[in-house]
Symmetry: C2
Subunit: 745 residues, 2 copies
């Protein structure tokens, strides 16, 4: 691992700058290079005014190249405390906290002091919330705040350093480590790490079993398929439970019900809420639905573009490797891969941009809804790019190769410049044999090579590029200083210089997006559930990869990105559905693959085209329904198991109830006890006539209502018992008499 000192401190003079953040909550990076001077000044004035109106204190310093840095903290602790209190009351009303906060605000905040994550979250909300909700309404990079490049908190470098060191030195994260992450970076990121950790732990099983299976059972083993399917069910269901548990432990269960309004939401008109009487911004749901329907052509379009691209490159590759027999074959084989590697990221980026535009166009009211819509589109795109090549090989190439390959002659054009004669480019009609190893090779490529490449792209490339750009900057700065113009840093107060240099560096960093990392893991899980039966070592590769991945992601957060805003969350969000979907789809694909390839990889009869349609369908049908049945069973069983989180929730409820009842029933308790004591049974025998005399008397004298008289005939339980006894004895003797009289007859 690269020395952390180097990563953090490209300038050696930062020294103790790493040890204080000067009480800064957030830094706003205001860039004005592209706007006119007067406009920049006007907008800047507006920015400071808006912040000040929202109760935030500001300090301004020079930034790098056409930027100033606005340092922000809460101006008054009282205001901040009121906001924190408000947020806690809201939590309680939405059922996130079991206990209502103390009605006395001061006392409540003294009893349960504000945490760092809470402070950062609330201050960030103050900066970004619309003015109507007592915020400053700053929306980076959009609308009137286009000049605001970013709003970021400052890293706690001391913590980061220790954290990375700590992660590097241990095999597994324990719950303390997760709590640490949660306290610093918020529950949303903590959930990612918790998921990664659970997934890593769970992977040990398919890794071990997969290895054994690879040694003993070979590929396409039905046993491996079954066990893997069960594992998928168990993992997904377990994670759901684990998620709830963590949410309770972290006090964020149900927090997703508290929705943040999206600043970019454009309302059509303002209506009065029929319920609360508040004015709310309204956008008709039907209109949104019409816009959402655009997702269908989008998905089709994306599938067609990416699909045909993949199919084309795939066909070229097949053609070259299986049909073509001319010179340069060993080089030409890589042609499609190169093509794909070049075109794919471009078209993928284009489509993602388009998806993002589409999501904006759908105009969601809350950030969560927006994010969920975006995630679903990203999932579709990733599904196509990640799995389609394998689907093509498994379900098109292998079963139908002998039909399709002859048609691939049209692709002669790709190799015509190299071929020596026509024969080299024509499929040998009779002896053509499909290459069953192609599938395995592809899986290995996606699960090993691609993972390594990916990791490199994620960690190494940004590091190098940042290094390079810093170098360029330094050279530039040197030149500027030589030119005699006063550099940005020259103005700095000596006491702050090191700190400001650090902040300027952090302002250059990109924003950490946890969904990207989650996506990566979900896609990885997909390979395992959908295709690992082809190559049982898949999980082994993932196990190793994920150990590094977790540490790499931590390093990314600590060093390569700005400090993330500690958002709360109560789950991994829409990715959970993606997991469930992939797990389910695995029950279909795995069954189909096993049916098609089991044995020697060429179908039940050794000939891939000789498979029975009904056999395949029946296999899939049973596999899917057994899957669904087992899933239901596992879900029910896991639902019944108690867990620390649920226990804690129960404990909280119990405490509150006891407290509440004690408070309110206190004065009643004395009376109640008295009433209960009244049962002293006088067990003497009392004649019924005497007992009911009083009641009869009152009847005769017309005292009381009939109801009162009814309830006064027997006074106290002892009388009831006595009279009941009489009835029973009488009835019993009557019965005996009746029997005897019958006998006599």
């Amino acid at each position: 691992m690269a020395s952390l000192k180097n990563l953090h401190e490209p300038n050696t003079n930062l020294g103790n700058a790493l040890h204080t953040n000067f009480d800064v909550d957030y830094v706003i990076d205001y860039r004005f290079a592209t706007t006119s001077k007067s406009q920049a000044v006007a907008q800047f004035t507006k920015l400071i005014e808006a912040l000040s109106d929202a109760g935030l204190a500001t300090e301004v310093r020079n930034g790098d190249n056409g930027a100033v840095l606005v340092f922000v903290k809460a101006a008054s602790e009282t205001r901040l405390r009121a906001e924190v209190y408000r947020s806690r009351v809201q939590d309680w009303l939405y059922g996130v906290r079991s206990a209502a906060p103390e009605k006395d605000m001061r006392k409540s905040l003294d009893e349960e002091p504000m945490t760092e994550a809470e402070r950062l979250r609330i201050v960030h909300l103050l900066i970004t919330k619309p003015k109507a909700e007592r915020g400053a309404g700053i929306t980076p990079k959009s609308g009137e705040w286009e000049n605001v490049e970013s709003i970021f908190a400052l890293h706690d470098h001391k913590f980061n350093k220790e954290w990375i060191k700590d992660l590097g030195s241990k095999y597994l994260l324990n719950s303390e480590d997760l709590t640490k992450i949660r306290d610093r970076f918020g529950e949303k990121i903590a959930f990612y790490f918790a998921f990664l950790q659970s997934y890593f732990l769970f992977l040990t099983f398919p890794a071990g079993f997969g290895f054994c299976s690879w040694v003993i059972l070979g590929q396409y083993s039905p046993w491996y398929a079954i066990i893997n399917g069960l594992w998928c069910i168990f993992f997904v269901e377990y994670w759901k439970k684990q998620e709830t548990d963590l949410a309770v432990e972290w006090g964020v269960r149900g927090v997703s019900r508290i929705q943040h309004k999206r600043p970019n939401f454009r309302h059509e008109r303002v209506i009065k809420d029929p319920v609360t009487g508040e004015e709310i911004k309204f956008y008709p749901a039907t209109k949104r639905l019409t816009r959402q329907l655009l997702q269908v052509p989008f998905a089709i379009f994306a599938s067609l573009v990416l699909g045909s691209l993949i199919a084309l490159c795939f066909s070229i590759e097949v053609f070259i490797s299986e049909v073509y027999d001319g010179p340069f074959k060993s080089y030409l084989v890589f042609l499609p891969t190169v093509l794909l590697t070049l075109i794919m990221p471009i078209s993928s980026t284009l489509l993602t941009g388009f998806a993002s535009k589409l999501t904006d166009f759908e105009n969601y009211e809350t950030t969560d809804a927006h994010e969920a819509a975006m995630v679903s589109k990203i999932f579709v795109l990733n599904f196509i790019t990640s799995y389609l090549p394998i689907f093509l090989t498994a379900f098109v190439y292998v079963p139908f190769a002998q039909i399709i390959v002859p048609y691939l002659d049209v692709l002669q054009v790709t190799v015509r410049p190299f071929a020596e004669d026509e024969k080299q480019m024509t499929a040998p009609k009779s002896e053509f044999q499909i290459n069953p190893d192609r599938l395995k090779k592809q899986i290995i490529y996606f699960t090993v090579t691609a993972q390594i490449v990916n990791f490199g792209m994620e960690i190494a490339v940004p590091y190098l590029s940042r290094r390079f750009s810093r170098k360029v900057k330094e050279i530039k700065a040197d030149r500027t200083t030589n030119n005699g113009a006063s550099g940005d840093a020259a103005d700095d107060h000596p006491e702050e210089a090191a700190f400001l240099a650090r902040v300027r560096n952090e302002a250059e960093l990109s924003v950490y997006d946890v969904t990207t990392d989650l996506r990566e893991m979900v896609v990885q899980f997909g390979y395992l559930s959908l295709f690992s039966v082809i190559w049982p070592l898949t999980a082994v590769s993932f196990l190793i990869n994920n150990w590094i991945e977790l540490r790499g992601d931590a390093l990314k957060i600590a060093v390569q990105t700005q400090r993330p805003v500690p958002w709360r969350a109560d789950s991994i969000g829409p990715w959970l559905n993606a997991l469930g979907f992939l797990s389910w789809l695995g029950s279909l694909t795995t069954a189909a693959i096993v049916y098609l390839f089991s044995g020697d990889g060429l179908g039940p009869d050794g000939n891939p085209r000789d498979i029975k349609g009904w056999g395949l369908l029946l296999t899939i049908f049973f596999s899917e329904h057994i899957y669904l049945g087992v899933q239901l069973g596992v879900r029910t069983a896991l639902g019944k198991i108690d867990s620390p989180g649920l226990q804690r929730e129960r404990a909280e409820r119990f405490t509150i109830r006891r407290q509440y009842l004690q408070d309110s029933l206190g004065q009643e308790a004395a009376e109640e006890e008295k009433a209960a004591e009244g049962v002293t049974l006088a067990k003497q025998t009392i004649g019924r006539n005497i007992l009911e005399e009083e009641a009869r008397q009152s009847t005769l004298q017309g005292h009381g209502t009939p109801e009162e008289r009814f309830w006064k005939r027997q006074q106290g339980p002892s009388e009831t018992i006595a009279i009941g006894k009489m009835y029973i004895e009488k009835a019993a003797s009557a019965a005996t008499e009746a029997k005897e009289s019958k006998k006599e007859l």
Copy 2:
């Protein structure tokens, strides 16, 4: 409709007894005919003591034949109020109510007085709850309370009469009617009526469409199948939403989370709850799981018994109607139906009893869990008895008849006594033709005939049998009086005589079980979703049936059963899953039936055996997955629609939040306003050096921490603006200079 007066008042002297219940909350029917006198007395004493200990007042009166009636009401209003309050606090803690009850108990109950249903529910709990939870622990018909035949509330005859009259005179129930039912009989029964009502309304569509389809499209129409499937999805999803809505409206949302302990639960040992420190009765979950596994052999056994019975009768019927050609054929055809009608109820009752024993054996801790386990078993039994015959016809008889029928010769034994020669009993090998109408006839039998018979069994038979038994009793009573022995009624106080006579009648009535009625409706829905494609008029028949059913059930509650305890519920419980299951299964069966029979009812090629396996499977596969996809879509779409219930919930939340924040933020508000006012912008230009002078001074003099100095350099937003402006202007001019100097170069 039979005159209500007659039903209620077999004795004409009941007169005004119908107008008062003498403030009685519950009546306990204590029977001692089968126990010895001394034991009966001892047990009776214990009963009264237990009731009295639980704070209940008692009065005893003579019952019919070896029974006494113990009248129970809450002894002290204070005690009852405390219990009601406790229950409300619990509701609040479980999230059933949004607002916490007032901390002052008296005030809380004055503000929101106890309703009748609440009172009855709490008193019933007082009678039945274990002693440890401050109840009397009376468990009718079980354990030491075997003598307690039943615990029932008294009917409000005036209400009942008006209610039945009202229902008879209107076509549809509106929400007021449902609220009325809920106020009297509790949410659990109200949910049944609400379901029945929704179902009835929804049925109008398939009835109308089914009729058109019957006229235009004929049977086995794929169009009907698709529309019917969509309808099923929509109905089930709509009901789920409706259920939530009603639960909110009735203030019982989430009430199923409050679980009542089952009195018959047998614990293995007592452990301390790790959370609350309370002692709890513990029964190991693993042990229960082992016992639950017995359900598998039970289900198999039940399927085998009922299945083979049905299959046998079915085969006999096929044999007689299709093969046999001798005398008495037209009578013998009914033989299997008679057989089935005789044996089926017996074996069904036996199996239900066995299921009940099994559920008891599984030893659930809460009544809800117990009930859910029982419902699932009952559903399995009903599934077999209701649908298996049709499955056999559709998927065994029609496709495989030509293979199977010849083997039916073994059934010759059933008709041997009547046949004249062997030939009459042998299948005509070549010319045998299956009877495609058999399926339709069967459906008509199950959806029309059986419904009518069922209704008769439900309403008419109990009425007649009760009439008869009352007659017998009267004759007996006459004889007893003639014998000179004092009859039960002779002892009655004249003021109470009529009332007691009424109570004795009500004591004889059976207990109303809403699950039976729900089961009936769910099974009916099953015919619609699974098989209605065979005979599209199914829904028409159900529509008519259910109009009567609703009124019949009301009549049953009012007249034929004891007044039900007003239990709360927030849904129709486990039947909802059954509905979902049947709706889903419908997507499989309907697709299969359409594929097998479409056209002339004999498969795609006119020959039922000539169907393609893969075609059938593919049809089913697509049908199921389109079903699941549409279901997801409908669910999502419905989830987004606002509803009165959800609005109300929001409104309540909003009110509480506003109240709470006003209360606690009041004193802070003034200070906060002051802070916000501070932003008066002095827009004069200030030299930076002067501005920061103070801060620098303090640095030199060592005042304050570095943090304090950092935040003091610019005092107030106006200074920040001024300095920011300076930075921007400087940077802008520097950029211009740089450009110019470049130009110069």
